[in-house]
């Protein structure tokens, strides 16, 4: 039942480099915590947000709008986490 609940939000790439290795890595790490699916979409291109390989193929530069979508229990949590990564430009304390 919970699978049917879809959390969707639009995120914008605001960091200079766009979705490079490090940002993709952070997104994937966050998404992998979530048991359900997490997807990022750019137009018709869709990427499994748990996969670094797929995230890279979005080739998202600064200013790109992406659609974030998660399903499964507490999907809102993972959506919040990923949104936060985007909004603070993937600046996270190195300790994580």
């Amino acid at each position: 039942m919970s699978d049917a609940v879809i959390h969707r939000r639009t995120v914008t790439v605001i960091n200079d480099q766009g979705l490079h290795f490090r940002p993709c890595q952070l997104i994937a790490l966050a998404a992998q915590q979530h048991p359900g699916t997490v997807v990022l979409r750019r137009g018709t291109t869709q990427a499994d947000a748990k996969s670094l390989l797929e995230l890279l193929t979005l080739a998202a530069e600064r200013g790109t709008d992406l659609e974030l979508e998660a399903t499964g229990p507490e999907a809102n949590v993972v959506v919040d986490k990923v949104c936060e990564l985007f909004s603070n430009g993937f600046h996270v304390p190195p300790s994580s």
Binding site: A28, L29, K50, S51, L52, L53, L56, T57, A59
Partner: protein, 583 residues
């Protein structure tokens, strides 16, 4: 059931399960064939993932210690790539679909790499390189293990590959590798020659066929006819089991011929010598009944290691061959390499030529690198003290060239004399007749050389302008072409008039079909791949000179290769019905 045709290079029939080695730089098997199946292959995949993670972790640690966290971060990203859920999932799916882990990994990562490449931009192109690098690491682990498997086989297999290098071929375990088939290669490729020496049924030059093999299918390799049958039906299998058995008993019968004299029914002796590349082949060649070595190819001395062989390397090798044949001729052919295969030191000097067959090769190379040439000649003259060693220059195309080569030899003789080093002075010096110009000028050459050896492989290639290893034109390469017979006739006549010996050492002489013709043309000496000796002996012992001359006279009137070859095939069948029973 599918039937694939290629070039028959090593006779015999082999039946068994396929083991496929792949097509790219890395030998990637498309499908796995091991009986242990999917779980086994999944485990191999995960073991390779673990091994790559381990490698990257070590690098990460080193980078952190030496360069700082910032640099270590790149490795942690690589670690994530290895553990990428999409990668793991997609590869596992493919393995469950019976793709080999090697193939699955290279397909999945290859697709991602291509996607990133196509998105443009330098950053993504570099990430694409990262993925290619990961693919290579994975394959190294997966295939490292697979290569081991090839040398540690526990059950019989037929090896199917895009190509096998000569060194891979020699390493094949004859106990378990029943036969092999490759997509590329021709009659005269070293791999083919080695397969013959090792008596492993083999077919080469099949063209693309590996994609048609899947699962642990049964394969038949018919190395006598050049046919590979994938997933044969019951009838075919029964038929081939039968011929496999007949082949074995035939081989036993031919083996018993080795002690009998090699002469025609009317008592004319014919010498059959062996062609070898490694000194180690000399002894088995003798066991096959060879009356000497008619062609010792010395190229492996140059190709085996990266350094140039020393005079001592040459000397030791030649002495080893002479030891097996102390009282019989051993003909050493000087360096016969070209711009497609260059000894290490010269590789940089000659970038690969557009047209290697017409470029700097063979005697031309020796004459441009006198030190290299003299080293070999010194060793040969010294070794000649211990037997009937003869020296032969390859690819001579003009008289001037032959005279130059002989002049270098005189220099070497003088040097050895001055240095007081023991050597033999009266070593016979001959030449290969393998360039049409030499065959045409045979009369003039015959006055200056001690012997001719007809190198039919190159002679045919140059006369008909056909590269036999090139799939697109291989069918135009015909030993029976009348132009070839006419060349041979001219050389034989010139030799006879000048009272020098002439032998045939190309692949043509190893084919029983052409033997009666060549004997009928007046040739009494042959140098052949050792495994062909017993069969040729059987043909000779069923032949009279009169009959051979009749066959030659008739064959020489025919106008096209097909007619010549059909006629000779028919005559051979009449002469030796047993021989053809194998078909």
């Amino acid at each position: 059931m599918q039937i694939k045709r290629g070039i028959a290079v090593s006779p015999g029939v082999a039946i068994g399960p396929a083991m496929v080695l792949g097509t790219e730089n890395f030998r990637i098997p498309l499908r796995f064939v091991s009986a242990s199946g999917i779980d086994f292959e999944l485990n191999r995949f995960h073991a390779a993932l673990d091994a790559v993670c381990e490698e990257i972790s070590v690098n990460e640690k080193l980078a952190r210690e030496r360069l700082g966290d910032q640099y270590a971060a790149i490795f942690s990203a690589h670690l994530m790539l290895v553990r990428d859920p999409q990668l793991v999932e997609q590869v596992e799916t493919r393995i469950r679909d019976k793709q080999s882990p090697e193939y699955a990994v290279s397909q999945v990562l290859g697709q991602y790499a291509k996607r990133l490449q196509n998105l443009g931009g330098q950053y993504l192109a570099e990430r694409s390189d990262d993925i290619v690098d990961l693919e290579k690491r994975m394959l190294r682990h997966l295939l490292g293990e697979r290569r081991e498997e090839l040398s540690h086989l526990t059950e019989p297999v037929l090896v199917l590959a895009h190509n096998l290098s000569p060194s891979e071929t020699t390493k094949l375990d004859r106990k378990f590798v029943l036969g092999f088939a490759t997509e590329v290669g021709g009659h005269t490729s070293h791999t083919a020659i080695l397969a013959g020496a090792m008596e492993i049924p083999a077919v080469v030059g099949i063209g693309k066929f590996l994609t048609d093999v899947s699962g642990s299918e049964t394969i038949i390799i018919d190395g006598s006819k050049g046919v590979v049958i994938i997933d044969p039906d019951e009838d075919t299998l029964v038929r081939y089991r039968d011929s496999e058995e007949r082949y074995r008993s035939h081989a036993r019968r031919l083996g018993s011929l080795s002690k009998l004299p090699c002469e025609t029914q009317d008592g004319v002796p014919i010498s059959i010598l062996g062609n070898i590349e490694f000194p180690e082949e000399a002894e088995p060649c003798k066991e096959k009944g060879a009356a000497g070595i008619g062609l010792y190819r010395t190229e492996f001395l140059y190709l085996e290691s990266n350094r140039e062989p020393t005079e001592e390397d040459h000397y030791q090798a030649y002495c080893q061959v002479l030891k097996a044949f102390p009282n019989q001729p051993v003909v050493i052919r000087t360096l016969d390499l070209g711009s497609d295969k260059m000894p290490g030191a010269l590789r940089a000097k000659y970038p690969e030529s557009v047209n290697p067959a017409l470029s700097i090769r063979s005697i031309r190379l020796s004459l441009q690198h006198l030190q290299l040439f003299k080293t070999q000649l010194r060793a040969a003259l010294r070794a000649a003290e211990f037997g009937d060693l003869r020296i032969m220059f390859p690819l001579i195309s003009t008289l001037l060239e032959f005279r130059q080569a002989k002049m270098v030899l005189s220099d070497v003789v003088e040097d050895l004399e001055e240095q007081g080093i023991p050597f033999r002075r009266d070593v016979p010096i001959g030449m290969m007749v393998e360039v049409p110009s030499a065959a045409i000028m045979a009369e003039e050459f015959a006055r200056e050389v001690s012997f001719f050896s007809l190198g039919t492989n190159d002679l045919i290639q140059y006369t008909l302008a056909v590269d036999r290893a090139d799939q697109a034109v291989a069918n135009l390469y015909r030993s029976g072409d009348p132009s070839i017979l006419r060349m041979i006739r001219n050389v034989v006549n010139a030799a006879k008039r000048n009272n020098i010996s002439v032998s045939v050492c190309g692949q043509m002489s190893s084919d029983p079909v052409f033997l009666p013709l060549l004997i009928g043309m007046g040739i009494r000496q042959f140098s052949v791949t050792p495994h062909a000796i017993p069969e040729l002996k059987e043909v000779i012992r069923n032949l009279t000179i009169e009959k051979a001359e009749k066959i030659a006279a008739r064959a020489e009137t025919l106008e096209v290769a097909r007619d010549v070859e059909n006629y000779l095939g028919g005559e051979l069948k009449r002469l030796c019905p047993d021989l053809m029973q194998l078909d």
